[in-house]
């Protein structure tokens, strides 16, 4: 640093040592960017290949050597893909599942986290440790009894087993929101209480508006999670009219494996809503990931 500042004055010619130092800095910067560019391109290639294959006519799909930029476009793949499978039905099912699961997650976890973060009561910390402990329990342990339970009460082949549990809190989201709500100043609650606000009023008028970033984070995580969810629908939804895009797309692949143009078009239509969603909520996305668990 010191060397750089002196040479910036430009009063005298640089010594050899200074010149080498600058050269080394520049070289490091070039290497750094080169490495990032190479890896960056490598990381995007699968997506580029997906899009590229999705617009290729069938003869070009099986061309050797491979061609990343298609030589002819066949956008009809996208229309054909929506006809080859009941695409709109699956899309609607995925959307339906995502909307209600997210509503459930946002409502329940905001509510529950408030009880753990802002209300003082005996036994609170013990129960919170239990909340944390439940995160260790693998889904596979709960999967079989829950399947049998939902089979008994006739909920199989409906979205109820996927959506209803969301209205009863999720350990990870409770943890995330509690950590956030703990950082809100206690004085706000106290002032409101002196003004005669009820516990419910404090929750609704103070905690909820101030917790917007955390609420948004939970909503984002839950939207991604349900949109991607594969094992949940795989276990509970056995009827084709109830399939989500995850299940429908995989089924189509197992039946017509070689239709890569259509498959990639369908995969792209499945992915693009998430990409648009990411760019709309990018800032909250990154903040949310940084927020998870590292404060505290």
């Amino acid at each position: 640093m010191a060397v750089l500042q002196r040479s910036a004055h430009g009063r005298r010619a640089m010594t050899n040592e200074e010149r080498n130092y600058l050269l080394l800095q520049r070289l490091r910067s070039v290497i750094k960017h080169a490495v990032l560019i190479v890896f960056g391109i490598a990381f995007m290639l699968p997506f580029v290949w997906m899009i590229s294959s999705s617009v290729k006519p069938n003869i070009d799909i099986f061309e050797i050597p491979v061609r990343l930029i298609p030589k002819s476009l066949r956008l009809e793949n996208y229309i054909d893909a929506t006809n080859a499978i009941p695409f709109w039905q699956y899309l609607w099912n995925s959307t339906y599942y995502t909307i209600f699961a997210t509503i459930g997650a946002v409502l329940s976890n905001t509510f529950i986290a408030y009880g753990f973060a802002r209300v003082r009561w005996r036994g609170r910390n013990v129960l919170f440790i239990i909340v944390i402990a439940t995160m260790m329990l693998p889904f596979q342990v709960r999967m079989i009894p829950l399947y049998i339970l939902f089979a008994r009460i006739g909920w199989l082949n409906s979205f109820l087993p996927l959506i209803v549990p969301n209205f009863f809190g999720n350990a990870f989201y409770i943890f995330l929101m509690r950590q956030f709500m703990m950082t809100l100043p206690q004085e706000l609650d106290d002032a409101a209480r002196i003004d005669g606000a009820s516990e419910w009023g404090i929750f609704w008028r103070i905690a909820v508006p101030l917790s917007k970033p955390a609420i948004l984070t939970v909503a984002i995580f839950e939207i991604i999670h349900t949109w991607h969810d594969f094992i949940g629908p795989l276990v509970y939804l056995r009827h084709p009219t109830k399939y989500t895009l995850s299940i429908g797309l995989r089924l189509y692949f197992t039946q017509y494996g070689a239709e890569w143009g259509l498959l990639m078009a369908a995969a792209a239509m499945f992915t693009i809503p998430m990409v648009i969603f990411f760019f709309l909520a990018q800032r909250s996305f990154i903040e949310g990931i940084t927020l998870t668990g590292l404060k505290g």
């Binding site: 491979v66 990343l68 009880g115 753990f116 003082r120 609170r124 590292l294």
Partner: protein
């Protein structure tokens, strides 16, 4: 992640009279109901089913004692294959993803131009739905017409069969796992950005080498992020199911039969609900044991105070 902050609100408070649990319980009621219905009940039901033979037609369990566990340890080669596959998968993914993600996050923390673009790129795979990503990878790794071998051919290498060969399938999955680990890059990057610049400047004045700075400053101060990422990665990768189930279904020749895939097959392909409950319990104990070991050995080395 798990060191709970002692907040002022948890201290006994003399001027407050509404310390009664009423309001607190009111707010956490949904969790209590969900906890009993969707955690406590399945937890014990699963334990009970693991000692039964479950008839899927009339949904009734029949007590068989320890039979399932005995069969699992003595007469089921798939149990041992899947357990060793899962440990191998988790261990290799942990090593490669951690090294790669720290490396990328380090580069990104060094005043890079277009940071937000790179960050988006490395995070991007997380956005692609698991089924869409898996299908795309099957197509990329197609031995004859896929992009991967096509590119290798350009530089004169004849690529392997990737997912279709027992020798390379597992490594393909780990490679794809690293591709999908962008969440960790973001966490490490935030860790790097939290390290005070002055520490490096002070080390420079003392004439520390780059390597010394890495071992003595960067690594210790990054330890909370490393700890968090290592714990979550191990827990999640031991439960890995969807990608593997879609891409290989556990094959070829059981080379990628992960524990969760085997469990799913036994439960929902063979409808051996009692037996797979026993499998689930072994998995639970395995993950619990591993997590406790990590906590015991690593958490003492994590430096939280800056």
């Amino acid at each position: 992640m798990f060191n709970l902050k002692r907040d002022p609100a948890s201290q006994p408070n003399s001027w407050r009279t509404d310390n009664l649990p009423a309001w607190g319980l009111f707010f956490i009621t949904p969790w209590i109901i969900g906890f009993i219905a969707f955690t406590v009940y399945p937890f014990f039901a699963s334990l009970y089913y693991s000692f039964t033979n479950f008839n899927i037609i009339n949904l009734s369990p029949r007590w068989v004692g320890l039979d399932n566990y005995v069969e699992l340890f003595t007469a089921d080669p798939l149990f041992w294959i899947s357990i060793s596959n899962s440990i191998r998968y988790a261990a290799l993914l942990l090593v490669f993803a951690t090294i790669f993600d720290i490396f990328i996050a380090y580069l990104l923390s060094q005043d890079v131009k277009f940071l937000s673009i790179y960050r988006t790129i490395f995070f991007f795979p997380v956005l692609v739905p698991v089924v869409a990503a898996s299908l795309t990878w099957i197509w990329i790794l197609n031995p004859r017409f896929g992009l991967m071998n096509g590119l290798l051919e350009l530089i004169g290498i004849k690529g392997p069969n990737w997912l279709a060969s027992p020798n390379t399938a597992m490594y393909s999955l780990i490679f794809i796992g690293v591709w999908g680990s962008g969440r960790q890059v973001i966490v490490y990057l935030s860790g790097f950005n939290d390290i005070p610049r002055q520490l490096y400047e002070a080390a420079d004045i003392d004439g520390a080498s780059g390597l010394q700075k890495f071992w003595r400053i960067t690594l210790p101060l990054l330890s909370p992020q490393i700890f968090f990422n290592v714990v979550t990665l191990i827990i999640f990768s031991l439960q890995s199911f969807s990608e593997v189930y879609i891409m290989t279904g556990g094959g070829p020749a059981n080379s990628t039969l992960l524990y969760a895939v085997n469990l799913y097959n036994r439960a929902f392909r063979d409808y051996a609900m009692g037996y797979s409950s026993a499998l689930a319990w072994i998995m639970f104990l395995l993950i619990l044991g591993l997590t406790l070991i990590i906590f015991k050995f690593l958490s003492g080395k994590v430096i939280y105070e800056r």
